[in-house]
């Protein structure tokens, strides 16, 4: 069937061209924002690499990073940047990106602005897994990676419970979120219970883990996190059209040919894996996954195809900046980045809500 304008609407070429130009400009703005975030990451990373007891200038940092791509670091400066400072910076970028992308997709498929790795219970169950490993030394495996593996496996529990729920009852997005919140409470109660009886040293370590920090990042950990981020982001990008369509309601999405239930579960699993793959190394860094998607929606609109890269890059820049603040604001004391993300992100979101122009914001 051919689509033609009916006789009464003779194409007004001027108007058409204008709308098209506006739409192209709108897309151009999204791409500009994405590029801006990339530049922002490079800039913050440069400053972040100068921080520490050994003095290195920003210009030196970029030279050292560039040179280090082609030869192994030799001088003290090179070793400091490459082995001590870069892992932390790259971990901040990867973790910020992954958490923000996971949050974007969870909000999208559940059509709920409150959805995030935290509200779905993923963070608190990971915390519980880590605390068991730290205080009881018990877990699925033993040895060096006990905490990581335990946190990873436990963090998948809420997702499987939610999927199990959808098999017995027709689970609406609201049911899924309530189930996630229920599990968040259950796991944090269990964590507190264990901590109450645990040794003081173990409680302190567990506490560090539950707030989230980038202090332990090393090159060995960056590889698995990178793999998880890449492997999970590709299918999420591929499904972004379907998530766009689901934003208009399940019925509309179904009538546009999207298998809503299957897509929702698939994306929930991938987003959970992505979250789990990050928090098991960094601890439960809060707020990035909730706030980065919202900020990006305010700036570039709700199209998920652009929102995934935009909020990923913005989340990376945001976490990197928060870590920068965490290391400088009370220097020489280094705060945990999880505290700063919430303390900076909360007021920032308030600010955006106060100056909102549109109904949703």
């Amino acid at each position: 069937m051919k689509m033609t304008s009916s006789t009464e609407t003779i194409p007004e070429t001027g108007k058409r061209a204008k709308i098209k130009a506006q739409y192209k400009k709108f897309i151009g703005r999204k791409i500009t924002f994405i590029l801006f975030c990339v530049l922002l990451i490079f800039a913050i990373a440069g400053v972040a690499a100068t921080l520490g007891s050994f003095p290195i200038t920003v210009a030196e940092v970029y030279t050292i990073i560039w040179d280090g791509l082609f030869q192994t670091p030799e001088t003290t400066k090179e070793v400091v940047v490459w082995n001590l400072r870069l892992p932390r910076i790259i971990m901040a970028i990867l973790a910020g990106a992954g958490l923000a992308i996971a949050g974007t997709m969870m909000q999208g498929i559940l059509r709920n602005p409150l959805a995030s790795p935290f509200t779905l219970g993923i963070a608190s169950s990971a915390g519980f897994g880590a605390v068991i490993a730290i205080t009881l030394g018990a877990g699925f495996i033993t040895g060096e990676y006990l905490i990581v593996v335990n946190a990873f496996l436990f963090s998948l529990i809420p997702t499987f419970v939610i999927i199990g729920l959808t098999r017995y009852k027709r689970a609406t997005p609201e049911t899924m979120i309530l189930a996630g919140i229920a599990m968040m409470y259950i796991f944090s109660a269990l964590t507190h219970l264990i901590n109450y009886f645990a040794e003081a040293e173990a409680v302190k370590e567990a506490y560090f883990w539950m707030v989230g920090s980038l202090g332990r990042a090393s090159w060995d950990e960056l590889l698995p996190v990178t793999i998880v981020l890449v492997v999970c982001t590709i299918p999420l990008m591929w499904k972004s059209w379907d998530v766009n369509v689901m934003g208009a309601g399940d019925e509309r999405a179904k009538s546009l040919g999207v298998n809503v239930e299957r897509t929702r579960i698939l994306i929930l699993i991938i987003s959970s894996l992505l979250t789990a793959g990050i928090v098991c190394f960094t601890g439960t860094i809060g707020f990035v996954g909730l706030v980065a998607p919202h900020i990006c929606r305010i700036i570039i609109g709700g199209d998920v195809r652009f929102l995934i890269p935009a909020s990923g890059l913005f989340g990376a820049a945001f976490l990197l900046a928060c870590d920068l603040i965490a290391r400088t604001i009370m220097a020489p004391v280094i705060l945990m980045v999880g505290i700063v993300t919430s303390l900076v992100g909360g007021p920032f979101l308030f600010f955006l809500l106060l100056r909102r122009r549109k109904e949703y914001w």
Binding site: W241, E251, G257, Y360
Partner: protein, 258 residues
């Protein structure tokens, strides 16, 4: 051959029967009105035809092919559905919302052709000035037009409309119905419309089925279905049906107490 055949469809929701043995035939370029009191099964029938719900018994044939055996995307290319209300939580421009209607036809990237089709549809619905506005900022009537535009961008062969005029003022009601009628005539699309307003149904549809309690109670030309006896039986309302300038008008008198 009929474009669409609904054969002995029965649908239960949690073992409560909603549709009982419903049979319908729809021709090409025909506009069918579905009327009946609240809870008669009108919306459920439309959802079954678009496979949003699966009937427990019976089958629905589109061009002779059972829709159960069709791929979801194939069905989406042929059947467009406009639900009574849609909830867009996150911001979306009107342009992007209408572009979603191209989903069954496009891959990941939207082509220049898709953008042109969105522009065509926006112009046809006279909402091109809203293109870059957010869908949550426009009025209910404009939203309804946007959702219809989205379904038209889908280029379906059958259009299912659930109460397309329920949120609209009287001018928008007539405008929207005129547009739908035009499309049905000009493009040879068939349309099934669940509608509460009996006067609009009488004025715009070719045929009406009246549902009550999940059955088809009466079917045929508007003048044959919209009789005082039928309306009294289905709705429990005493009415007068008047003929004014060749058009049928249903004038409610009082609800019947039983």
């Amino acid at each position: 051959m009929a474009k669409l055949k609904v054969k002995n469809v029965t649908f239960n929701y949690a073992s409560v029967p909603i549709l009982k043995d419903v049979c319908i035939e729809l021709d090409k370029s025909e506009m069918l009105g579905v009327v009946g009191p609240n809870g008669a099964g009108k919306s459920t029938l439309l959802r079954c035809i678009d496979r949003i719900l699966s009937p427990q018994e019976g089958c629905i044939l589109l061009d002779g092919e059972d829709i159960k055996n069709m791929h979801l995307m194939e069905l989406a290319k042929k059947v467009g559905y406009i639900p009574q209300s849609a909830t867009q939580v996150f911001p979306a421009t009107v342009f992007d919302t209408v572009l979603m209607g191209r989903r069954p036809h496009v891959g990941w990237r939207s082509s220049e052709e898709d953008l042109e089709k969105v522009l065509d549809t926006l112009q046809m619905m006279h909402i091109e000035d809203l293109a870059m506005r957010d869908i949550n900022e426009v009025s209910g009537g404009q939203q309804q037009k946007i959702f219809i535009a989205c379904a038209l961008a889908q280029e379906p062969e059958i259009l299912l409309l659930d109460e397309p005029t329920s949120n609209l003022d009287i001018k928008h009601q007539l405008e929207v119905m005129d547009i739908i009628k035009n499309i049905v005539v000009e493009r040879g699309i068939s349309a099934i419309m669940a509608i509460h307003d009996l006067n609009l149904a009488a004025r715009y549809t070719d045929r009406i089925i009246m549902m009550n309690g999940g059955h088809i109670y009466a079917a045929g030309e508007p003048s044959a279905v919209l009789t005082p006896e039928n309306i009294n039986h289905a709705y429990g309302v005493e009415v007068e049906v008047i003929n004014h300038n060749g058009r049928l008008y249903v004038l409610p008198i009082r609800p019947v107490r039983c």
